[in-house]
Amino acid sequence: MIRWVDDRLGLASFARSGLRKVFPDHWSFLLGEVALFCFVVLLVTGIFLTLFYVPDGTPVIYEGPYPPLQGQQVSAAYESVMKLSFEVRAGLVMRQVHHWAALVFLAAITVHILRVFFTGAFRRPREINWLVGIGLLTLALAMGITGYSLPDDLLSGTGLRILYSVVLGIPFLGPYLAFLLFGGEFPTETIVSRLFVFHIMLLPALLIGGILVHLAILWRQKHSQWPGPGRTEHNVVGKPFWPSQVLKSTGLMLLTAAVLGLMGGLLQINPIWTYGPFEATTVSAPAQPDWYVGWLDGALRLFPRFELTVLGVTLADTFIAGVLIPGFAFTIMALWPFIEARVNGDRAAHQLLQRPRDAPLRSAVGVAGLTFFVTLTLAAGNDVAANIFRVPVETLTDLLRLAVVVAPPVAGVVTWRVCRELQRRDVERGTNGERGNDGEAGPVRLRRNDAGGFEEVD
């Protein structure tokens, strides 16, 4: 059988070299894989959910087995998710696994990006895969937001309403875009069916394509590695793809799925029956979105009162806080490899990773950016936190407003200091500061390279 295929396609040699491909081993290289496996779980559970979900905003009367809602008007979409949760066997666990997998998916992507950033894995030649990765992050966020809104419950409806308002606030195009996207003035009955098309067709197609490109580039460029004995800028030291990496990765996939299964079974998530169906005139309080949207919501909460009308054109604060600031942050993030190369003049190709301390500027910028996002995310919970700590929400918000401006630079400077201090200690200890996790300290020979920097000579 294998022979027969090979005789026709001649893939054996290709496959053989592929199977022998070497992958460096380090726990931090598995983060991206965890994201990938979450995506697999999302696909599998998503297909199941699609078979039961009804993408229809038409109002119906709920007559299912959940007593508090009986006789209430809900949308057909909401009713189908209720059915999925209460009447379809294995429906609830699939829903909850799907939701948890989405949360972990975005978390894994985030941590993976942080790993790539803080170890300088995005440097030439991998800037290209960094860009693909940022694209994938954006798609994953869009997947999260569209999927989250499908049940048409009160909480996600509130999120949609804010999304509509942000789109509406875009100068000149806003009202047109908002009406095209939603099919009219919010709320509309068509929006869930549109979100459905985005969530199960357009976005997954793009995401799958993007993931394949991401992996193909990785395959072609080979994985970066930590410095260590025998590891240079021109080789890859690690285990072959087959059998060790295949087994390990399959194991990791099953373990990821196992954890998600456990979470989906034991930890309740998005109980839409307690939120109730969407209604234009009610709002749930407090209202928190899923964690990955928190920073966007936080930006809206913290942005000071500001609205400007010049020559009859109103510049909405929702546009600044909801479009400009996130857009700016993502642009900086996407362009960082090029910014860094320009700042330090290092345009050489790199195969060896750096420890955060070896690039103090990058680490400082990274920590500052991270602090910014974390502060905004915390701000999305200001009302809840104010309740817990029994402080007025106004005070807390003002504090967070201060923090979002002050904390990032402070964190950046502290990080820079810490990096320099660690570097100094490395020098004192006689290591060169480029030592990998399993490397032995020893004398190092440096040579000047074309770019004007130094590189290690083995």
């Binding site: 001649g10 606030g169 806003g174 996207l181 309080a285 009162r305 009859g312």
Partner: protein, 281 residues
Amino acid sequence: MSAERWISVGLALSIAASIGLVVTYVLGGQPQVEGALLAVALGGLGAALVVWAARLVDARTQTEALHPTGSPGGTPAATEEPVGAGEVTRRRFLLRLLAGAGAALAAALAIPVLSLGPRPGRELFRTDWAGGARVVDADGRPLRVADLAIDSVRTVFPEGRIGSPDGQTLLIRVRPADLALPDGRAGWAPEGCVAYSKVCTHAGCPVGLYRAADHALLCPCHQSTFDVLRGAVPTFGPAVRPLPQLPLEIDGDGYLVATGDFPEPVGPPFWDMTHDGEAGG
């Protein structure tokens, strides 16, 4: 006719048909016409490319060795001809025309996106309220002043429009002496019954909470706070504009009625929201 001529004709037809498609769409659409135009727009371009490839491109036939299949794989034999021998001949005029045909076709294919939603028109400037509309609660009961206790708040709608998303309004009764409404609104709150749009001027959430202690309306989404006594000006949070106030009066039967729509657009900001005057509101 020379090949160039044929190609130009094909491309020109394609451009014309693409423009025709846009025009047809704008005029309301007509399936047979659209089908015919689509055929010309795509066909003209396609035929032009075929003629181009057959007649204008210098394409010498080349030989490429078959990859040896099976396991003892080797590198594929290099082809004899240098790549680029048959490149597209540079013909400025034709290339421009080709780009034009591509752009026109793209526009023709993209324009149906406009079917996804209506034009905003005056929609964003209007609500379901109008002069004389009775104020009813969520159950449709018209309200008299006596139905409202001091410092009570309820969500009200124009009669016959219960649940109206842009007409949802908060009716609060306060002591008339406490009210300090902006100039020109003296008569808008009979016996202390003030009505404000319930749609937050920040990002449109229903302003769901009332704190009687300081007569504040709170939006749970981003904590915008509005002062009921002073015309719902924002006192905290991101909202910039006050909640629009609905002018009320008491009709002959003692019921609360609106004397008109909100004086300005309700809800979140959009770029031309101050242009209300143009179409007469």
